[in-house]
């Protein structure tokens, strides 16, 4: 069944399969109330999320049938290379995907018992900033250069918490101290360009935490920073999320970061989740060739100088009209015909909760455990 849309170019006849129930649900704007929410076991449940971008060159299926769960206070990592869909997944959770050209075309997102996709826009806006905080990658461009940082941090507070000006200011000072900015009171009237990169990211963290959210979406929070600062920032995020019992969805391409911060990790490739499990499971018994490649490509202490770094040959596939086959197949050393004929699904492996999407590593597959 095709999703009718006016943005598809003439030369992009992509058919997206959606169940009738989902289609109905996405089309109706039934309001769901923020106040009455059923008790939820997990903070965030994402089922079958698909987010597509309708461009003149075709429909880019950036996120394709992605599912994961995040418990209260838990830290989940979303790992993968550029373009694999991890950022778009996070943006989709907060419904911040730029539209045009992007759109959530299928799936279910339940946040704290609320069906996000059925929320009215105004209610969604009330969630953002208040219960869902965002930390973006580049603090220089993510902060408004013409507004003081005091204002920018207080903005969400005043919007959602209804505090008086004085109370809001006090809270801002408190937040700034918490994120480790010295002489916070004096710096309220300063502008972003007057801070260093690491300080700016601390400001972003303060903004994200300003209303004591239940969930923080951190999109590559340290990629734009110096290596020496990275550790500090990550530690800060870790500390604060523990202290406030905030769940964190950490998006990164760096396995080391994921290892240090997360309880569980999802590995994404080409818009799909290809492996999910605890950090230990992933690092000790990875069950997907892509994960092996990622781990293998990490430089090691016992590498010989002068040897080339190990890489995964090839490029990620274009996400326009992908065929029904394993998406990693062209780059996989272990691929066989079966991989080209049908796409594997996520199946549970030895440990409960550890899933992988690969024919070869399945119990009946051709790679022994």
């Amino acid at each position: 069944m095709t999703i009718p849309n006016e943005q598809t170019g003439r030369d992009a006849p992509t058919i997206v399969e959606v169940s009738p129930a989902d289609a109905r649900r996405l089309v109706t704007q039934e309001k769901v109330s923020l106040d009455k929410r059923p008790k939820a076991e997990k903070l965030l449940t994402v089922k079958g999320l698909s987010t597509h971008f309708f461009t003149p060159d075709g429909v880019v299926q950036a996120v394709d049938d992605v599912s994961f769960e995040l418990g209260y206070g838990e830290t989940l990592g979303l790992v993968g290379e550029s373009g694999c869909g991890k950022s778009v997944s996070a943006l989709s959770v907060a419904r911040l995907v730029p539209n045009p050209p992007g759109r959530i075309v299928a799936g279910e997102i339940v946040f704290d018992g609320i069906d996000i996709l059925r929320l009215g826009e105004d209610d969604m806006r009330k969630l953002r900033g208040k219960e869902i905080g965002f930390i973006f990658q580049d603090p220089l461009t993510s902060l408004n250069p013409t507004l003081t940082i005091g204002y920018q941090i207080a903005e969400a507070i005043k919007q959602h918490m209804g505090l008086s000006s004085k109370a809001a200011t006090d809270r801002v000072v408190e937040l700034l101290s918490k994120v480790g900015i010295p002489r916070a009171k004096d710096r309220l009237k300063d502008y972003p360009h007057q801070f260093s990169g690491g300080m700016r990211q601390r400001v972003m963290i303060a903004i994200a935490l300003s209303c004591d959210p239940k969930l923080i979406l951190a999109d590559e929070p340290t990629t734009a920073l110096d290596v020496t600062i990275q550790a500090q920032i990550l530690e800060l995020i870790s500390l604060l999320s523990d202290e406030f019992h905030t769940a964190v969805l950490l998006i990164t391409h760096d396995l080391g970061i994921a290892a240090g911060m997360c309880d569980r990790v999802n590995v994404m490739y080409a818009g799909r989740i290809v492996e999910t499990g605890t950090v230990d499971e992933l690092f000790e018994v990875p069950r997907h060739p892509y994960a092996w490649g990622l781990l293998d490509s990490l430089p090691r202490l016992d590498d010989v100088r002068g040897d080339r770094l190990r890489t995964i040959e090839g490029l990620p596939p274009l996400l326009i009209s992908p065929p029904d086959a394993c998406r990693f197949e062209p780059r996989c050393r272990f691929a066989r015909d079966k991989c080209r004929e049908k796409e594997p699904s996520l199946t549970e492996r030895e440990q409960p909760g550890h899933f992988a999407r690969c024919w070869a590593t399945e119990p009946e597959g051709w790679i022994p455990a």
Binding site: A94, L96, R125, K126, L127, R128, G129, K130, G133, F134, F136, D138, T141, S142, L143, N144, P145, T146, L147, E155, A156, Q159, H160, D190, Y191, H193, Q194, M204, I207
Partner: protein, 305 residues
């Protein structure tokens, strides 16, 4: 910041100096002096007049005397209107021209910027097309043509406004619109482009992620940032208004200094010409400095650095 301002202001001096020298030399390069009328004066009379006004002295001396007088505010006698000094003539027309310029500038900014903002917010919908059409009209119609068209439609055909002169508010409307036409088009285009660029910026996404209301995102985050580049074209806009005003004064028969300027050129009234050229040049240079300072002020990245 203070240093920046003083530096820019001081720079006006060499500019004005260069302008005055160039103008002075040009004036004196022309055959025929200020006494050329339909009937040539007898040589003796001309010689005496020249001596009286010091026109028979070497050029650099003449320039020197002019420069000193100018610096002390004495703009010299008018050669044409022998019973008045240039100061008198300038004083008469200056405020008229000034008022016209201010009104046109105000109109340009108050119409151009909102048009640009609306066009960007209603991208690819009717506000965008309307603004783009107005921009095209403004850019492809020279101001004197626009003035004449306005006269034809609103004065001759509809009779709503008088065809010219400068007596009371009804006479102000058409000239102001005619003069502001081109700047409105340019400012609207620039504002629209700037707004569209700002919309794509990361900090707008951050604002949305905080749950800020759409109106606030636009008014507090977008507009402020979008207007900063727009300030850079205000300088050329002001320069345009300064020079464009005397064309409009001709079209609408407005008694500003533009009229005198055009007459002074054809009659080679040296003092009047020098004074007015310098006045125009100074106005443009000074306004440019004001715009530059404004730009440095409203962008915090420059203000606090």
């Amino acid at each position: 910041m203070i240093r920046y301002i003083t530096r820019r202001l001081l720079w006006i001096i060499p500019v004005l100096f260069a302008v005055s020298v160039i103008t002075f030399l040009l004036m004196h390069a022309v055959p025929g002096g200020p006494w050329a009328r339909e009937k040539a004066l007898p040589d003796a009379v001309e010689a005496r007049l020249n001596a009286k006004y010091g026109l028979d002295q070497p050029l650099y001396e003449q320039y020197g005397r002019w420069a000193i007088a100018f610096a002390t505010g004495d703009l010299g006698p008018s050669y044409r209107y022998q019973d008045r000094t240039v100061n008198d003539i300038v004083a008469d027309g200056f405020w008229v021209t000034f008022q016209l310029g201010v009104m046109a500038f105000g109109l340009a900014v108050l119409v151009g910027i909102p048009l640009g903002i609306l066009a960007a917010l209603g991208h690819n919908r009717w506000p965008d097309y309307l603004t783009t059409s107005i921009s095209i009209l403004g850019v492809t119609t020279p101001s004197f043509v626009l003035g004449i068209l306005l006269i034809v439609v609103f004065s001759v055909q509809l009779g709503w406004f008088p065809t010219g002169g400068w007596e009371g508010p009804e006479t102000w409307v058409l000239p102001t619109i005619a003069l502001a036409g081109f700047p409105i088009a340019v400012i609207a285009r620039y504002t629209r482009a700037s707004m569209l660029e700002v919309t794509r910026k990361d900090y707008i996404r951050t604002a949305h992620s905080k749950g800020v209301r759409n109106q606030s995102v636009v008014s507090r985050h977008m507009i402020r940032n979008a207007l900063i580049p727009v300030v850079t074209i205000l300088g050329p806009t002001l320069a345009f208004l300064v020079t464009g005003s005397f064309i409009i004064e001709r079209v609408f028969n407005i008694p500003g200094i533009g009229q005198f300027y055009l007459n002074a050129i054809s009659t080679r009234d040296y003092s009047l010409l020098m004074a007015m050229t310098m006045l125009y040049a100074f106005a443009v240079a000074f306004l440019n400095v004001v715009v530059d300072v404004l730009y440095a002020y409203i962008d915090p990245r420059i203000r606090y650095s």
